[in-house]
Subunit: 404 residues, 2 copies
């Protein structure tokens, strides 16, 4: 008998009809001879509604109380799912993060999991009861209710799968899997049957929104096989698994894009030690996440530093950079909010040096200017103008024959 | 420094404005030099909405899951209140029933409190933090979440006041206190400044809806002084306290009415031992609560038995009684859904035998027919036709000079 952890997101349990369908699927999975542990998110947009309610009553919104507030959402969805299962003759018990033994640090609203006990879940499974666990939440070492931050329910599911030794962790969502390009931009985008953890990490980090980066990291670290699939069509989705060395690797698996960033360039910076450190310490002190950083070769004792930041932090980052550029007597600062980042990802890329050349040629043939370049062993990313993103993704998808 | 437990009902925390007003009042109470423990219900009608949601997904609705579902409501109101208090510079922490140490039996949806630990509340008070506790909920001896049933939040507040040795327990609601008649029926109805636990028990049991009977019993058993008052006007309300023997007692404190019952009469029952036992055992086996019972003197070996039941159980009670009347060869069964019960309550009544006579005379002067009578040492109740209830209440209020 296999143990499967199934995680259902907010849209999958968005109303009573959806909950009934999820209950049917859990019952079916059990009927096929599996043990099932279910993890649920709050229904639909209910977490957003609670956040807006908090905004109405408070400016300070203490973290401990935000966590108490937001953890009510999963209580509702999990209790309703257990009731729907009871009507199908499947015994199910709901468990809060605390009851499931998900122990976290005390960092309210973005707690990290320290330990997964899971005793009550094992005991329920032994009694042939399906445990339905609240995603996104835990209990801190000081016995207060915590939440894991956005995307936390995926992490709950992966952590439980690891702790209980599940065969796999199924992440049910409103798309049918991971695609090798955004289907809204590329009609020929193809669903991937299988990707490695490393590829999925790069996909998640460069604009593929299907899985939270953190849950993929947790799955890789604990070797939990993930299966991302749709709770609307129930068709097989995308497996995210350990790289199999015996297998021929796709040279390029996917092309992703991200238009959530902005670019800032500090020009003609005196090329002296410590200047870059001062700039990025200043940004870090304002909790601004810098993604890509590029420094050009020094010409006559001066250099240019470019970096990208989330657009939400753009104004703040711009002012921090401006202050610093005055202090270090840089000649100029330029900023561009209308950029996009295009990435090619593929585990086979490391052994095929011509990929970068082909990528740049493809963009050149479309007369798309490349503003920044960054690479990892399995990824090449280019910053281009936002208006060029759609064409770039389409051209790369075709050039690398990703429609197969 | 006095410790005051303040309980706010659903309408008192019905929206963000109401929550802000409650926060102001808690801050004010603290500023006046008191320690405060707050107990809250779920916002407005949210518990009813959750019950309706459960009805959409499930017919069976297992009690354990209903309790998990319904306990989400107080989580929201208490977290929001803590946030509003934080904005006023008052440190507050929310506590679930479990965190507050409210230990119950395992009778889901109507659990009974076995013990109140309250360690975390005492610890919060010692740190000058206001504990805001979820009403209506606890944790069972088997570590599952439980609810105390309707009116449970009042009981939570009284139980905490008893366990923490509070000076008093303030019950904030949408009326300004306990009135000596329903102000909707009697414009001259007067708010009572003080009533004894015994009188309040009779008032609650005979139609006065301000406090749940159970919380008054708990308060009497643990000698917790209650103060029922309005969270809309904040004026002083009604104190419910131990009877003070040195005090002159009002002969009649209040006139109450209740139109939620129906009457069934089994006529010409053979007057043999065991017949009444069979009838009421039959009703008890169907979980039908019988309120008033009356058996007339036997005439020629036969007797009549009348009783009242909640109208919701009327059809079932009628059929149980009909079955039995056939078995015991009673001649007839009559039923009346349109009755009302009028009660006079007063601690001084036991030493004034003429009250009953004056009550019957008053009703007679209005040509109101009395169908059943029942008494306790501090109460006289009469069943009349439902259409006569309003007139009866008005006439009695005037006859006993309750407008003063």
């Amino acid at each position: 008998m296999s143990l499967i952890v199934q995680k259902y997101g907010g849209t999958s349990v968005g109303d009573s009809d959806r909950i009934a369908q999820v209950a049917e699927h859990v019952a079916r999975t059990k009927r096929h001879g599996n043990q099932v542990v279910v993890v649920v998110s709050a229904m639909g947009k209910s977490t957003d509604e609670l956040i807006s309610l908090a905004g109405q009553v408070s400016k300070t919104r203490p973290g401990r109380e935000m966590d108490m507030l937001l953890t009510s959402g999963e209580r509702i969805s999990m209790a309703l799912l257990c009731m729907a299962l009871a009507d199908l003759g499947v015994q199910a018990n709901s468990f809060t993060g605390s009851q499931a033994g998900i122990i976290t640090d005390c960092d309210h609203t973005k707690a990290k999991i320290l330990e997964v006990k899971g005793d009550r879940l094992r005991e329920a499974l032994a009694r042939d009861v399906v445990p339905v666990v609240a995603g996104f939440q835990g209990v801190s070492t000081s016995k207060d209710v915590t939440t894991l931050g956005r995307g936390g329910s995926d992490t709950t599911a992966v952590a439980l799968a690891a702790a209980l030794g599940a065969e796999c962790c199924e992440i049910y969502t409103d798309v049918s899997g991971v695609f090798n390009a955004d289907p809204r931009l590329v009609p020929a985008a193809r669903k991937l049957g299988k990707v490695s953890f490393e590829e999925m990490l790069e996909i998640a980090a460069t604009g593929g929104r299907v899985l939270a980066l953190r849950s993929v990291e947790y799955a890789r670290n604990h070797q939990v096989a993930l299966h991302v699939r749709s709770s609307f069509t129930w068709e097989p989705g995308t497996w995210i698994v350990r790289e199999d060395p015996s297998m021929e690797q796709a040279i390029v698996s996917a092309v992703t894009h991200d238009i959530s960033q902005a670019k800032i360039t500090v020009s003609q910076v005196p090329d002296k030690p410590g200047i870059a450190a001062r700039l990025f310490r200043g940004l870090a002190d304002h909790s601004i996440n810098v993604d890509m950083i590029e420094q050009n070769t020094s010409v006559s004792g001066h250099t240019d530093i470019s970096f990208t930041v989330p657009r939400a932090d753009f104004a703040l980052a711009h002012s921090v950079a401006r202050d610093l550029s005055r202090q270090v007597e840089a000649s100029d600062i330029t900023a561009d909010e209308s950029i996009g980042m295009i990435s090619l990802i593929g585990a086979g890329m490391k052994t095929h040096p011509a990929i970068a050349a082909q990528m740049f040629e493809t963009l050149a043939s479309q007369e798309i200017n490349i503003e920044m370049i960054s690479t990892s062993s399995i990824r090449i990313s280019c910053v281009v103008g936002e208006r060029d993103v759609e064409r770039a993704v389409q051209a790369l998808h075709e050039s690398f024959a990703l429609a197969r």
